[in-house]
Symmetry: D2
Subunit: 149 residues, 4 copies
């Protein structure tokens, strides 16, 4: 067991992500994987499955949003201060299809007092931009992880 | 078999919704129900299930967004012009919990040329406001339904 | 001199607006007028002048935003709790031209703890919708007015 | 007189900006200066004057928005296709005060068919982030400049 305060920012980001991922049934249920964590940064991946398709036979915007929103959540909780979303926006650039492998890269643009702004790019397996997302975060009480086991 | 052009706006809204719902696996897979359709208006309902919970043990914002986004899609496709989302924003007002029954009411605020703006309120079973959503729509080619069987 | 706490909500909204307007050089400088105040509601008017025109010879979006933003500010400060904007979005529906008289109607959609959401419609003198605005407010310390003289 | 089609992308960006600036009374009236142009990029500067102050004695959000919106307009018109804003959002990070010199840097994030997404950072003279803006553009008919004199 070791003290959280002894972790480097990079280790802290990884431990926060592992703890959140463990508790976050929604993110796991959708088959998302964490590809990379760093302070204020996360990269998540998800494959478009049949049950994500809407009436135009492309991925429901809600699932593209959910991937981006998860990437945002992992990025804004990477510094061990429990943080929630206050609002988000998404712009759809191109449709995603069945089997597409989507990668969401979240980066902190601002953190100031209890609020922050994060941008997320969602790309497909060809590197084509699929969606741009912006999330506003609000820091609540408490840490993400308390101690290191 | 009857001509689509003979339907009243209300009938058309209901037929478009039925056709979209039939094709929209994502919306059906999440257990959403259409409570009401009218021209430019839709009301959808969804119950928060275990697999929608995130790391703070409340409903993942992505699922609240997905419900609102579906309500938006049904509302903006209710006049038999195939329409997609170009961008959306959501503001989270209160968390939703396991078992909460969420109702999303979408209303057209503007339709002008090929673009439109729709507002969606998401409330829980107590009538508490949970989220406010705004969707921007873009009309593509083609109708939602071609003929009435 | 009378106590602020004895004012009705309607009187309070009017006194807050009068005090804010007095201090708000930007709003006055642009020739805005307050047409109506109520708790959580404001209606402001502004005429499009020559110096508001951009390169396409229509009103610069920034001035339509500024009118909506002022209406938002008066609405969210109408309950005597000093409140600022944390973020805003605007959708442009139709252009405004030289001489157009724009009316912005702001209404509270949600107020919850220190944060709120307000919607503003901007219309021209023909009642045509020109823009839709949504503002997120954050309550800071202190009242808008302290005592009534 | 020379053909527009012979200009390099950089020259074209500069000529489009010069032509727009000439026509854009709002941008000139507020004392904005163009510091830099490149394809999809613009940097504009504006000083906060007394008539830009609102009731809290800081710069009215509308003027910060207007600066960002102008930077967005110059960036999205830099490739000689006449382009207008369809919608914008702004997040306020820190207040701006009388005399602050604000610099807005606009960068294209996506351009796809007739629509685009641009991000703008607004900083003060100390390099502090003041606001983050995102603009959605829509390409209309016609060029920005027709021929080179």
């Amino acid at each position: 067991m070791s003290d959280v305060s002894e972790l480097s920012p990079q280790e802290l980001a990884e431990r926060c992500a592992a703890a959140l991922f463990e508790r976050d049934r929604a993110t796991r249920h959708l088959g998302m994987q964490i590809l990379r964590m760093a302070p204020g940064v996360s990269v998540l991946r998800m494959t478009v499955t049949e049950e994500m398709l809407q009436g135009h036979d492309t991925c429901h915007g809600g699932y593209m949003f959910t991937l981006a929103d998860s990437a945002f959540a992992f990025a804004c909780n990477s510094q061990n201060a429990a943080t929630v979303a206050s609002g988000c926006s998404i712009d759809y650039i191109a449709p995603a299809k069945l089997g597409d492998v989507l990668t969401a890269t979240a980066e902190e643009r601002s953190r100031n007092g209890r609020t922050g702004v994060y941008d997320v790019r969602v790309e497909n397996q060809l590197g084509d931009l699929v969606a741009l997302f912006r999330g506003k975060s609000y820091q609540v009480r408490g840490p993400v992880i308390r101690e290191e086991i």
